[in-house]
């Protein structure tokens, strides 16, 4: 019971996974696989940031792509216009995060006062507007055609970039884990469970919801920056609904409100996308693989609302409870007999 938390069973398990991921590119000498895993990790960051909104605060945003897109465009434009060095890259991440933070603050302040369906709808509308602006503002974004740019010299080696992304996802995971377990994070969970009640306990829920949406926006912008560098190309696709849907699917299928769940979801969705679109050459129906995802997603919402990790967790706790009860039963019997 009094084991140090750092050495809890799940943390050791995560630690082993991280070690395996560090070793992975050196063991498996495959460029495509390294790129795929990098992609999975980047979307993992995005999905985790979405989980802060959907899983922990219980608000549905359909405009998450706008923050992702802001990060991607900031990095792409700055690397293209200035020198393509690692410092500009770091600077562009910071700029993207600040812009995303400011935007999510304004949007949040304006819309989070409303009920959840308004928020979902408005975020969708605002991000739709941003997409149209990006398409029309060709002098900066080059519209739908997009533009390529040079990644910093260091990232020429895919493995270096992979390791950077891996380091960042670990940092983001630890930060978010600390965040959701902090008193502030607990208030967010309370908002999810019962907003009225949290309000009557004296918490300004709007304030907490805005904090959650700013944090989620900032992290999403980071994911966007990394995504742009991993492709060395950016176009308006980074602002489309598809990105939001990806994050949504990963979070739902992996398990809402678990942080690990979205990562599992990212692995499932990204690898399925990769292999299913590979199958499309032989079976044309797989070109529309999104239908399968849509159907799986609908079924998941109805029958499997906790997702993969959530369901496993629930089963595990059930099993633990049962075990605990078995241990308790003889004790209470003793008590009764002593009476």
């Amino acid at each position: 019971m009094n084991k140090p938390i750092l050495l809890s069973r799940s943390n050791i398990f995560l630690f082993i996974i991280v070690l395996a991921l560090i070793a992975f590119p050196f063991v498996m000498d495959s460029r495509t696989l390294t790129i795929l895993v990098t992609q999975i990790l980047i979307f993992g960051i995005l999905a985790m940031s979405y989980d802060i909104l959907l899983g922990y605060t219980g608000i549905v945003s359909f405009g998450h792509a706008m923050f992702f897109g802001i990060g991607a465009y900031c990095t792409a434009i700055m690397l293209n216009d200035f020198e393509s060095t690692i410092f500009v890259f770091i600077g562009s991440i910071a700029v993207g995060m600040v812009i995303a933070g400011i935007l999510s603050f304004i949007v949040g302040l304006l819309t989070l006062r409303l009920k959840s369906h308004f928020f979902a709808m408005l975020t969708m509308a605002i991000s739709g507007l941003l997409l149209v602006v990006a398409e029309k503002w060709r002098s900066v974004t080059k519209g739908n055609d997009g533009f390529t740019f040079k990644a910093p010299e260091v990232f020429k080696d895919r493995i270096v970039f992979y390791l950077v992304v891996l380091a960042l996802i670990v940092i983001v995971f630890i930060v978010l884990k600390r965040f959701v377990n902090s008193p502030l994070g607990r208030v967010l969970i309370a908002v999810r469970e019962n907003e009225q009640r949290t309000k009557s306990l004296g918490f300004k829920t709007l304030y907490y919801k805005v904090i959650a949406s700013v944090l989620a926006g900032v992290i999403a912008s980071l994911a966007g920056s990394l995504y742009a560098v991993s492709l060395r190309f950016v176009n308006t696709a980074v602002l489309t609904m598809e990105i939001t849907l990806d994050a949504l699917l990963m979070t739902i299928i992996g398990g809402v409100g678990t942080l690990i769940g979205p990562l599992v979801g990212a692995v499932v969705i990204e690898s399925a996308q990769h292999y299913l679109s590979g199958l499309a050459r032989d079976f044309p129906i797989f070109e529309r693989w999104i239908i399968f995802f849509g159907i799986i997603y609908i079924l998941a919402v109805i029958f499997f609302p906790k997702g993969i990790v959530g369901t496993i967790q629930a089963k595990y706790f059930q099993w633990k409870d049962k075990k605990a009860q078995l241990n308790v039963v003889p004790l209470s019997k003793n008590k009764e007999s002593s009476k």
């Binding site: 959907l54 219980g58 549905v60 359909f62 304006l110 819309t111 006062r113 409303l114 009920k115 959840s116 369906h117 308004f118 979902a120 709808m121 408005l122 969708m124 509308a125 605002i126 739709g128 507007l129 149209v132 602006v133 029309k136 609904m241 849907l245 949504l248 739902i252 129906i285 529309r288 999104i290 239908i291 995802f293 849509g294 159907i295 997603y297 609908i298 919402v301 109805i302 609302p305």
Partner: protein, 287 residues
């Protein structure tokens, strides 16, 4: 003068199409507290089903009828399969209807092919009238009349018939209606199917208006309809007409005078409404 006149006609026609889409959305929301993100999907299905049957039969009326039937059938399926299982759970409703929207949109590409489909205006409604300097495109007038007829019809049904009475009562307090022994579930289904049919009708009317349809159209129009519903007030039928015309006119005037603002103008109206009257301009629904 002639310019302003044609801008007004343009704006009214666009507004009417958005109204057809938004009125279904607003009634469904008012009665069931379900925000149907799949509504845009029904719009595109209506457009495609209508256009293909119009091309096949050569009669636009057949196209309209097929679109309405498609809307009814899809509305029935959506209500039974998608809405009922998650009834009462807000977050799940939002998530699931969006997922269904995705499936509907991709199904379009499977059934009708992924390419943009060109649509011609039916012969009877093609061309334009000339009154002095003013050129009036016939099809736009047709849409405006059609929209007003639909509005009148539904306004009559809502205010003068028994089912309209029940629907309006349901918007105010659905538990009370149920307590008085009316099967509110059946009313839900009817309203949902009607709303879907209106969306499909908007789709088929839109097709010759724009001249081309594609699968992503649903999402674009759904966003417009959402904006209109927010401005007009959730659950208000008259509000959605007023807001749709407002959005249509603002869009057409801005597109001419300040083109770069034309995209933002709807958002600006919505933001202003949200700041000063978050419940919308007209409201009958609670919450």
């Amino acid at each position: 003068m002639d310019l302003i006149f044609s801008l007004i006609i343009n704006g009214l026609a666009t507004g009417m199409l958005i109204f057809l889409l938004a009125s279904g959305l607003t009634l469904i929301f008012g009665l069931m507290h379900v925000l149907n993100f799949a509504h845009g999907g029904l719009f595109v299905w209506g457009a495609y089903a209508g256009v293909f049957s119009y091309a096949y039969s050569g009669s636009f009326i057949v196209g309209i009828i097929v679109a309405i039937l498609t809307g009814l059938v899809f509305g029935f399926i959506t209500e039974k399969l998608i809405i009922t299982p998650v009834y009462g759970n807000l977050v799940q409703q939002i998530l699931i209807t969006l997922g269904f929207m995705l499936v509907l949109q991709e199904m379009i590409k499977v059934v009708f092919g992924p390419n943009v489909v060109a649509v011609k205006v039916p012969e009877l409604l093609a061309g334009s009238w000339q009154l002095g300097d003013i050129i009036i495109i016939k099809y736009r007038i047709f849409i405006i009349f059609f929209g007003f007829i639909i509005f009148g019809l539904f306004h009559y049904m809502l205010t003068r018939t028994k089912i309209g009475l029940v629907v309006r009562a349901g918007v105010m307090n659905s538990e009370m209606v149920q307590a008085l022994g009316i099967n509110i579930k059946r009313i839900f289904l009817v309203v949902f199917m009607t709303g879907s049919a209106l969306a499909a009708l908007a789709g088929v009317l839109f097709a010759p208006y724009s001249g081309a349809i594609y699968a992503e159209l649903g999402m674009e129009f759904a966003i417009m309809a959402f904006i209109v519903v927010v401005i007009g007030g959730m659950g208000s039928f008259q509000g959605s007409l007023f807001a749709a015309i407002l959005v249509g006119l603002a869009g057409s005037f801005m597109a001419y005078y300040v083109p770069y603002l034309s995209l933002a103008v709807n958002m600006i109206i919505m933001v202003v409404v949200l700041i000063f009257r978050p419940q919308g301009l007209f409201t009958t629904a609670k919450g």
